[in-house]
Symmetry: C2
Subunit: 418 residues, 2 copies
């Protein structure tokens, strides 16, 4: 894509009303726009990152048999009364009357919806197990929404729901889902802790959270840095500064952390509320056992920025980056510079490399380099009089201080990991 | 995909509270679930159709330079006050207070949002023209929502917005967008009329609507069946039963029709409301000229069903069908039937053919055929004792009464159009 045609501009100055680093950098980089606290629009650059994250999530959800669907946000009060959550979630749920006077709400989560729908789909033990998921907007009227993309009032959620005959079969799938979650976070380059946590309003059983250490977090993970054993602060039995009870070597530490995912065993809570039963081999009705598995793709995007940036801007991991290569043409009176930049742009496109081409006429070199650092694409390639005098292009990773001049062939090999 | 594992079951009986054919067939086929009037959930089969429609739309929007983004549904009242539409849209807009007492609304359209965002992105004439689009959920509190997927309270919309220096440049792009819309509808197999219509709350200029004739429609298109000239009933100067003023041959008719798309010239209405200006070559500020272009992918899905079905079920066009082939295995005591069905399933998958494989044990042949007709996948392939005795599989298009027995090679050639 030509940067001269991109919808979305970098901003020189920090936005005034943002404290979170992720929001400041994403706003300045032209990735998002803030419609109100906790509600961000994804501009083309930001949507590319989001879709990359979504692709990783979809691949791993499909790999464990997840079937994608898309549920509505707007829902009638009656549905939420069946699980008793119209009242228990009232503090964070947007609830209002439509023009006919009917009570409706915006879903903060979809256990109710999916349990109701499943009563039409799950009849016999032969229909189980099943797993379905969606990537869809959720709504929570958060009193504090100061963490940028990490805590939203309108935010995207990948929520997967699984259905089983028995607790044992739920356990089997829960382990698979845990492995899938670890793959997702690993593919995105995140170092995470898996913590036991309380199930909150959902279940009396313990659940698991995936946490990454970050000053921007709102959680605290009590953990052993050595063996990576961790517990949520609310349920921990470990004391800070003592030896780790698991490995006996590390010293227990507390750190602020961001929850990047969670998995719950719901048991039969929602099956009972909605009469979700299957007929077993003897034809006897049994309640379906359910699980619930959440990841916020927008929150992941914010988390990646919190964990991977420097004073100049974002440093995207390859898996999430909006483009793989940022091709920067330094303005010159010599037509050869433009010509070589255009040629390299076309070569990269022909090779299927996602490239943002800074072809803007009016910008000085320093300004273009500052924009490239802010946007944070993994590879920067500069075409300039200087680089051409050295018979090539200056290639620099976002993480490197110094670039190296090389020809197109060598750069393409580098991109292929050779 | 194996039908035994599909989330979503066909229903034998018509849902009680649906009058629209599209809703009845889509509900019975397991494509959608009804959460409330005007709010439908897309089950895996339905989401596959929707994504096929979205793919066609995206390809044509990208081809005219559209950049995809994703805007929020929830928005503050203040934004809508600037265009004066908080009040003029109040009848159909969900408007409510959040827990802090702030007035917010769910966007029924996004001219306000995009004009506000564009003030950050469009500064100079060099930034123009631009076109951005999204495929995103819109909310309208429709008093009557009885048309299934054709009129929703929560519904998906592809909305594209374009930005220009002059009316002339808008005209140029408007023609391109018109061509792109014609391509989209043609690729989906829809015969449409393009009608002039009044711009409603948007503009005093005429706009264009794309209409398909259907008893399920809520519009009336005054048209000439011969030359396909058409006008919206609200602005028409043509009288039913008279000679067509365009071709002089056809006789003007009125018919019920469904609006499947519309394109608007917005002029500077929203640019003025939001102070969206660009600096021209002399540095003088000028208001940006805007256009707006809408298609509802869910409505398109409902329209396809209205226009293409028979008494047994849906007849999907290839471009929208959830799968290309419905492979039906007729239960048999001979292991060879299962073996050959499995083998054909794997062959089709290996060739990249999207196939739904009815491997359900408990269903009788008649029931499976009825399901296949209801779901409406273009090609049905039956593997049975009878077909194997004739050395092949019974291949039948959804539109054909009789099938033909043939081997896998001949079927694959047929699929390739040979």
């Amino acid at each position: 894509m030509r940067q001269s045609e991109l919808f979305g501009k970098t901003l020189r100055e920090d936005p005034k009303d943002e404290v979170a680093i992720n929001a400041r950098l994403l706003l300045r980089g032209g990735f998002v726009y803030k419609t109100m606290a906790g509600a961000y629009d994804y501009l083309p650059l930001g949507l590319r990152v989001l879709e990359n994250i979504n692709r990783v999530i979809r691949e791993e959800m499909n790999a464990i048999g997840g079937q994608e669907l898309l549920l509505t946000a707007i829902q009638p009060k009656e549905r939420w009364m069946r699980s008793n959550r119209w009242d228990t979630l009232a503090e964070i749920m947007y609830q209002f009357k439509d023009h006919s006077g009917r009570d409706v709400g915006l879903a903060a989560t979809h256990e109710e919806a999916i349990a109701e729908i499943a009563t039409q789909t799950i009849l016999s033990y032969k229909d189980l197990p099943l797993a379905v998921y969606q990537i869809q907007a959720k709504y929570r009227d958060e009193p504090r929404a100061k963490s940028g993309l990490i805590r939203g009032r309108e935010f995207l959620m990948k929520d997967l729901y699984s259905f089983h005959r028995t607790e044992e079969d739920l356990d089997r799938f829960y382990t698979q889902a845990d492995q899938a979650y670890r793959k997702i976070f690993t593919r995105l380059g995140l170092e995470f802790f898996v913590t036991e946590a309380s199930g909150g309003t959902f279940t009396k059983q313990f659940t698991h959270e995936y946490q990454v250490l970050s000053e921007a977090g709102e959680d605290h993970t009590i953990h052993c840095p050595q063996c990576r054993y961790a517990q949520n602060q609310e349920i921990t039995t470990m004391r800070i500064g003592t030896k780790c009870p698991q490995c006996g070597k590390g010293t227990i530490a507390a750190a602020k952390s961001i929850e990047i995912g969670n998995i719950f065993k719901l048991g039969t809570k929602f099956s009972q509320a909605f009469g979700l039963r299957y007929a077993d081999e003897r034809g006897e009705p049994q309640f379906v056992v359910m699980g619930s598995y959440g990841i916020g793709p927008g929150r992941l995007m914010g988390t990646l920025v919190e964990l991977s940036h420097d004073e100049r801007g974002i440093i995207w991991p390859e898996a999430a980056a909006p483009f793989r290569v940022h091709l920067v043409e330094v303005k010159s009176a010599l037509p050869k510079v433009r010509m070589e930049a255009e040629k390299l742009y076309k070569t990269l496109l022909a090779k299927g490399v996602a490239v943002l081409y800074d072809d803007r006429d009016e910008r000085a070199a320093g300004e273009k380099f500052a924009d490239a650092d802010l946007i944070g694409i993994p590879w920067r390639v500069v075409v300039s009089e200087r680089s051409l005098a050295k018979k090539g292009f200056e290639v620099k990773r976002r993480t490197e201080a110094q670039g190296t001049v090389m020809g197109a062939d060598r750069f393409l090999k580098l991109l292929k990991g050779k």
